[in-house]
Amino acid sequence: MPTYYYLLLSLVLFLIGTAGVLLRRNALIVLMAIELQLNAGNLAMLAFARALNDTKGHVFAFFVIALAAAEAAVGLAILVGIFRTRQTVNLDEITLMKR
């Protein structure tokens, strides 16, 4: 399998994730779209690791997975905290920092 197939798939995944981050207003879906973007990066790293016959890309993908776990935990905790005080997860209504 040529590597560029995997790269194009990674690009499509990253694009879908970016569209989700930019267009959706539900903060939960935005967090899921960020997970999609991280996975697209992982896929590109693993594809290049195989193309270069190197294991370092696997280690980096491992770090990205751990980072995604931390990001999901803190992000969801912030969401729960926002929902407790403001009763919404709509990103258009969370405008406290604008005023």
Partner: protein
């Protein structure tokens, strides 16, 4: 279909598996981003991660494929489902039309970046040796737990320890950020009691119930 005619039949099965998994991945991702109900979005994201794990396995990244299923489809998505159950709000309209000009500019910029990246990959796909199929066969232990683990503990020990620290900070931060006002009051009450106990014990260290029993 020029690229099918010059295909090696040994690679046909691999290509078939790749296209099935890639379709599942892209379809699941699209479903995730477009669904209004968050539970449906979480479930299709789990399906996306399973298909991605299959693609990782086809890249001979066996350890990362297992990790993808354990950590992403297991742990992270369970966390998401818990939060969806806590919040449980459906949106009135999924896509926002407030600030539409900024969003259109953002999407156009993102599309331009994607177009440049896709063009670069497709333009170089025959001339660059990295983008073609690997010529040298991979070693048999490529991507196994022992290989990745050796690299992790030989070359990346300090990043590994840093990431464990990051996870610890994330756990503590998650607990502190998400606790309610009542829990916060209770925690402060507990801290106050503990401080009182410590002060009392430091004031009277030679009181009879705390004295050493050797005489």
């Amino acid at each position: 279909m020029k690229f099918i005619s010059n295909i090696n039949p040994a690679n046909a099965a691999e290509m078939f598996v790749f296209f099935v998994l890639a379709t599942a991945t892209v379809g699941g991702a699209l479903f995730t981003v477009t669904r209004r109900n968050p539970v449906t979005a979480v479930m299709s994201l789990v399906a996306t991660f399973f298909a991605l794990a299959g693609i990782y396995a086809s890249l001979s990244a066996h350890f990362l494929a297992i990790l993808q299923i354990l950590v992403y489809a297991g742990a992270i998505m369970v966390l998401f489902i818990f939060v969806v159950m806590i919040l449980n709000r459906e949106e009135i309209s999924p896509v926002s039309f407030r600030g539409i000009i900024t969003r259109v500019i953002g999407v156009l910029a993102g599309g331009y970046v994607a177009w440049v990246a896709a063009w670069a990959v497709l333009y170089e796909r025959h001339s660059s040796p990295v983008l073609a199929a690997p010529k040298v066969p991979l070693p048999p232990n490529y991507g196994t737990v022992s290989t990745v683990g050796l690299s992790l503990f030989k070359d990346f020990v300090f990043p590994f320890e840093a990431i464990s620290l990051l996870l610890l900070v994330a756990i503590v931060g998650g607990i502190i950020v998400s606790r309610s006002a009542k829990q916060e009051e209770q925690a402060e009450e507990t801290i106050r009691k503990l401080r009182e106990i410590r002060e009392r014990s430091s004031e009277a260290p030679e009181s009879p119930e705390h004295a050493p029993a050797h005489h």
